[in-house]
Amino acid sequence: MSKKTILSGNHAAAYAVKLSRPDVISAYPITPQTSVIEKLSEFVENGELNARFIRVESEHSAMSAVLGAASVGARVYTATSSQGLLYMYEVCWWAAGARLPIVMGIITRAIAPPWSIWTDHNDILTLRDSGWIIMFAQDVQEVFDLTVQAFKIAEETSLPVAVGWDAFVVSHTVEPLEILSQEHVDRFLPKKKIGGHMLNFDDPFSLGNLTYPDDYMEFRYDIWKTQREALDIISNIYEEYSEISGRAYGGLLEDNMCDDADIILFMMGAASGDAIEAARLLREKGLKVGVCRLRVIRPFPAEEIAKKSERVKMIGVFDRDVSMGYSGVLATDIKSALKEYGVDVPVAEYIGGLGGRDLRVKDFLEIFEDMDKMARKGVKFSRKWIGLKEKYIGGAP
């Protein structure tokens, strides 16, 4: 049966990977990811995990190694952060384009320069357009749960899956969690079947050849189509998993007090916990606010987001990332979802917490109060940076 224990986010990921019985793991250490692969190499070394651990000289090679292994049908895992993800970026697109079910943990860390080892979400969001399925956890338990599910989602869709969690706040914070038994995981995640497009000696072919303009577009269309179908596939897998684990997060989005809310804040990651706490406090004062946490970024749950936004006075989007020259990354997608489903609701964008700048309940109390004030005044749109040092505030909207 399941076991209650206490682990860091990174060790929770390592246990989830071990229980998922991968054949090959390859990774290159980078703070704050290191303890994931340290733990995994320990499992391989002491015989607890029957997998090949390929040591490599860079992230580009790590992704190449798991890409090679996946292309002959192995179940594979890697993990990285920030600069490491950027270094393997080229191969990430190969993984998606070659339709290989690779699972990667991304322990989100700000991108240099200036050098930083603390969390923000710009690194994982660089995968947004690549064909990778992207999921994001809030706490240690969810890191475990999403990692196990990621293998099944990858193998059902024949697409790579990235599972994100925040540097230190989740990766190195030790929390109680429940770990599934091997029997449970085995039943949920049967032995991997080999896809027809995986290399074998008996029927040789090559993968990823030159493709002329006559053929290329259909390959992109097929990834796009599978991504759209994956909304249902992921939802079904979440449901199946929650029957085994007894934990339900609500699917693609986690709804916290949104049902009767006048104001909803959309966001992802660890800081959602602080936002939810702020929302609870404000509800005690009679302010009807809610937090809608995005658990899946690609495929984008546009319809669900639009539905949540239909009957509210204002929505907010908190981005722990920024698309330079425009708005937060989530905000651009959420605004386009509202247009797609004809939802006309005022939007307040917030950008903050970059490079690990601390986000507290107090910050979200201010955000909700700011939104309440704007909603009363009838403000249709605003975009603000949160927590900036005062002398830097001002200039362009």
Partner: protein
């Protein structure tokens, strides 16, 4: 197995002869074997990067439909039996 895994439109290609057309037309110089000098060591056959040197009746034969004229065969020939001749 997931249904998508079966019908996935993956970028695979099976080897065929000349899938991008007759690459021999790319050639500016052409290897010509002098069979009086050739000692049948087959080094050229082994080194040809395009696989367009065949062994027919124990003799090397260059497939000019696909030979791009890179000159590797001429270079590796230990008895200088392959001359690179400019295409007319």
């Amino acid at each position: 197995m997931g249904e998508i895994m079966v019908r996935v439109y993956a970028p695979i290609a099976r080897p065929t002869i000349g899938s991008v057309g007759k690459t021999g037309i790319w050639r500016s110089v052409k290897p010509v074997v002098n069979y009086d000098k050739c000692i049948n060591c087959y080094l050229c056959w082994m080194y040809c990067p395009e696989g367009c040197i065949n062994i027919i009746d124990d003799m090397v034969r260059i497939d000019y439909d696909y030979c791009k004229g890179c000159g590797i065969c001429s270079n590796v020939c230990p008895v200088k039996a392959i001359e690179m001749v400019r295409e007319e």
